[in-house]
Symmetry: C2
Subunit: 385 residues, 2 copies
Amino acid sequence: MKKHDQDYMKLQNRRTVFGIIKQQHPISRAAIAKQTGMSPTTVSRIVGELTELGYLVESEQVAAAGLGRKSTLIGLADGSVLSIGIELDRHFMSIGILDLQGNVICSDKRVRPAEEDLEETLRRIGAAIEELVRHHAIDRTRVVGIGIGLPGIVNNDKGGVVFSVQLGWKNVPLAERLKELTGYEVAVDNELKVRALAEHLKGAAIGSRRTALLGFGNGVGSALILEGEVYRGDMNSAGEIGHTTVDPNGMMCECGKAGCLQTYITIRSLLSEANQIRPIQTIEEVFEARQAGERWAIHLIDRALDYMAIAINNLVCMYNPDSVILSGELPDRFPGIHEEIEARCSSHFVWEPLRGSFRFHHSELSEWGVVIGSGLLSQNRFFQL
Amino acid sequence: MKKHDQDYMKLQNRRTVFGIIKQQHPISRAAIAKQTGMSPTTVSRIVGELTELGYLVESEQVAAAGLGRKSTLIGLADGSVLSIGIELDRHFMSIGILDLQGNVICSDKRVRPAEEDLEETLRRIGAAIEELVRHHAIDRTRVVGIGIGLPGIVNNDKGGVVFSVQLGWKNVPLAERLKELTGYEVAVDNELKVRALAEHLKGAAIGSRRTALLGFGNGVGSALILEGEVYRGDMNSAGEIGHTTVDPNGMMCECGKAGCLQTYITIRSLLSEANQIRPIQTIEEVFEARQAGERWAIHLIDRALDYMAIAINNLVCMYNPDSVILSGELPDRFPGIHEEIEARCSSHFVWEPLRGSFRFHHSELSEWGVVIGSGLLSQNRFFQL
């Protein structure tokens, strides 16, 4: 066997072992060997290397079940590697520092003025990181990088924002600029893709092999995780369901097409239609009006829920996932709609042969999903996972 | 390194080498080594083994460019492995015998009465195979299996037809039954999935990394090939776009939902609506009426083309493919609609940011795509590719 092949295989084996430890720690060397089919010697070598690098610790010995023998378990040195996860949205910025397990060890959330320009946003990201690191006495040498999740189309290879309607950005070399500013490696991705990754690794969809996540809020979108990896498509824009056509005779969308899904279900669209009736500032008011039995509000929200169920049907027909996760501001702020959407799906909105084919999950990481996913993305880059 | 790992790697290397030879033959050992990063010794060993099994031949030496040296090229022993590919549809059955390169070396196409029952279909498949093998003096020992592509939801692992509206089948253990009858290993899959595979390996989308294929005909569906592999989803029913909802206020579909894509574009739906106007037997008559300027026919076909463009938009938003292939009876029988659909896509039916993101292809294998894909599927099973 050639050197090249052996090196590649060593790297692969190391990834495999580290991946298993991350998911199943504490775990014994023997269990790793059993799962991977690697020899105990290979496993021991890899564990030794990773321990030397400071990523693993041996936890105390425990008695193996019923046999009286003792087995040493391998655990993660949680704080040996840290990363910074950031969610950037039109109206806020969330930031967290994550350990190796994806735990948020400290965090901050700040309002972002909608008119804030790029330079100011960059400056404030830098300041927020600085403050968090100082305030919590974080060891800077352990921070391996920054991950950022945001709404829009992102070139995740280069870390550039192709465009983001919500942030008002077009062709922003975000990773490059932020690396200049902070010195850290920066990974950038679409918010729903990292959120789905987080739910897969730490949240609602652990163990799922084909996870589809939908986001309903100021925007609408989806993401697919296949066998643990984000499905990106050719330009990292797979899952852009907001502009799938769900009624060619429907309302005009800002994109120039008619009847795009987003015209029926985003908070902005709903508010814009509600304001045909009377001045309304927040989506809460619309839900209150619905609660109070106002017909226009009932129509507006019921129609939105219908289209959410349609979005789920269309996604399920195309991706055939085993799990569907509902996320975003709307289900987060109005948890009652989960049930209403699910009821629509199981009555007749989802094509009958696929009706029982997937598990329905609520987002578990809600407010921190994007921060966690972004931070984990940054760690994955560091470990070249 | 453990024996287990080495065995796995040997198998992987063998697959890689064989795959390259299949795609690029004739090719030199040196070129294979260069592409794979394997050592010349490893490549020679694998080539030797495959030659011994009869799958490869050394073609005559050719002068390496400009150097005066000679280089031996490796080619496929095309006829060393044969497989039988079958397309089963409501109204016909096509059958072909394929060589290692996916060339159809002999074939037959027969009408299938719509009311034909399962037993009769099985009997006739067996007879058709028998006749083809005899008539063309095929060496039976070289036939490694049968592949069948059909419309419907197929359990491709077990080779069972979960259900097929077109064939009127539900829970048919097709592979098992046909193996009993013929003695050959049988692989069964959805027709569009094998067609997409064929176009990827032998047709319009060679070299594409994310190929989406659409089928417009008696049914409507799609398939996605990711990095050379069929994306199946959890139940092998990914790509079932026929029941995506494209207008919740639209026509009732036989599935019980309203506004399913298939209600606007399948031949059956179009004929059913056309018959509201006057008795019409074939889709050709509808196209002729359109040509003659009859308003109802213009409306019906234009609307169908609109919805085909919508289907492409929705597919492109969700899969973000690099290639989109149009296939099926409608584009095959009315090649002019290709241009009309493409024009719709590039004017405003496809979301602007994705408009230039994919190449548009016509199906190249048309009538024989499913036969070729099914035959290749059977060979892939044999070689465990």
